[in-house]
């Protein structure tokens, strides 16, 4: 189920990227922690996204999710939340948008992992610690 969901998510993100709806994306959260540490079960997918000049609302509409803007004092610029149905079960995904300096740092040393015939960009572990994600 999660394997199918990952393939579907990557397809949506790749398509969104090719249409200019987002600049970059990379895995964070539980699955990224598992890639660098001890594997464990988790409930959803989290991705960091860089939008550059793209409109987050347009991305949310294309992905089939909802965009929420962070408050002025929130360390997150905004989050797109999406529910993807796989085998009649909903799997949630969050696309997290950080402020510009943190986004630049997040995407500086992305590692590409090949899993299940997919290429997954993953945020390296020191950055996961900095992001506390």
């Amino acid at each position: 189920m999660f394997q199918e969901a990952l393939a579907e998510i990557l397809l949506r993100l790749e398509t969104a990227q090719s249409r200019g709806l987002l600049s970059r994306y990379a895995l964070i959260g539980g699955f990224a922690v598992s890639a660098w540490g001890v594997p464990r079960a988790t409930q959803d997918f989290d991705f960091a996204i860089a939008l550059d000049q793209a409109d987050p609302q347009a991305l949310a509409t294309f992905i089939g999710g909802r965009y929420q803007v962070g408050e002025p004092d929130d360390p997150l610029r905004g989050v797109v939340t999406v529910s993807i149905e796989v085998e009649h079960e909903p799997i949630s995904m969050q696309l997290v948008c950080f402020p510009s300096p943190l986004t630049e740092l997040t995407f500086r040393h992305i590692e590409m992992l090949s899993v299940l015939e997919c290429t997954v960009p993953v945020v390296p572990w020191p950055m996961l610690i900095i992001l506390k994600l």
Binding site: F2, Q3, L6, F31, V38, P39, A41, E89, V115, L116
Partner: protein, 65 residues
């Protein structure tokens, strides 16, 4: 009273109020060593499989409630 102390001695947790367990530390270290032997790709794949298993267990238990 005896049951309580047995439970405490068997505990694997790292809670400060609990007695440290050498056996617990050894098991945790073994887990870390095993993970170190894998590639990042293998660990991600295992996490996807574990999440599938956890979701299946959750669904099965939810139906029983």
């Amino acid at each position: 009273m005896k049951a309580k102390s047995t439970a405490a001695s068997l505990s694997l947790g790292r809670n400060a109020s609990r007695r440290p367990s050498k056996l617990g530390d050894m098991l945790a270290q073994k887990k870390i060593d095993e993970a170190r032997r894998l590639t990042s790709e293998q660990r991600l794949l295992i996490a996807l499989e574990l999440s599938d298993a956890a979701a299946a267990l959750h669904r099965a238990c939810s139906k029983k409630r």
